[in-house]
Subunit: 140 residues, 2 copies
DNA sequence: ATGCACATGCGGATCATTCGCAATTACACC
DNA sequence: GGTGTAATTGCGAATGATCCGCATGTGCAT
């Protein structure tokens, strides 16, 4: 897993987008984020490396990256959108309602059931969203 | 299914809220809505019965009703929030990405799997959100 | 009936996000 | 290494959804 930022840059170039200074910084930040930051947080992190990047550009680039399928945008419970790079494998989210921490998980069985349900009603799934809002189980 | 509006009124009163002309109309509209309207749409329907109800009041009342657990607020994919009265039975949503239509469904198997997954990671589910964004299957 | 806390209606305020537009700049081509 | 052109950027202003402040109105317990 050498350089994730490089992979993102390549993906961006492959999508026919130009590599700019501001995009490079944003990609580095995205590559280094293990959490799920929102646009304002990303902007802050980007500014820490290069003060010459506007929030508008962060938004524009995030939108572009999302359209190109390079990153994903999540809107948990009506708050501002949060982003993450597209992992090779799809996953859903579990949000700890007390700490706000996000845990990723995946269940092929659930995925299969979803497809079945949609099919029964005559639909194909374009994408889905499964979020479990949880609380750490009381340890006795 | 006698008078749903009456039930809502009772719930509102039981919650210690006052019954006003504007709330009565909104409750009637909510009781009669089989779809999942947003605040603007609800306001429009309310105005059709009584022009003297402001959008701010619709918002305030919807928020109050949600807090009291009388209605539910859903935020599908970053669009404006949509509301529905709380049904006795929980259900999830399937949103037609082309028409915006919402279909309700429920799968006990999925619910069970969700609980299992959370339990495995040491969590209890507080609530969840499962949305399938779908497209009508091409009928050959 | 009466009072007063709760509601309402405005318009203005927020918050996240987007847009218009003029100034830059990446990158293909020479 | 120049050059041209279309993609990008940075502002600040525009949006759209939703909420707030405050003065006025009104349910409802007494």
């Amino acid at each position: 897993m050498a350089n994730k930022a490089r992979d993102l840059e390549q993906a961006l170039r492959d999508a026919g987008l130009r590599m700019t200074r501001q995009r490079a910084v944003l990609l580095e930040v995205l590559a280094g984020a293990s959490d799920h930051p929102d646009a304002a947080e990303l902007h802050k992190r980007v500014q820490a490396r290069d003060t010459g990047v506007s929030l508008a550009t962060v938004y524009r680039t995030l939108t572009e990256l999302e359209v190109q399928g390079i990153i994903q945008r999540h809107s948990f419970d009506g708050a501002s959108a949060r982003f993450e790079t597209c992992d090779p494998a799809h996953h859903d989210h579990m949000i700890d309602v007390e700490t706000g921490a996000v845990v990723e998980f995946r269940s092929d069985r659930i995925e299969r059931l979803q497809a079945e349900i949609a099919a029964e009603l005559g639909y194909d799934i374009v994408h889905h969203r499964l979020e479990l809002y949880v609380r750490r189980r009381d340890k006795a």
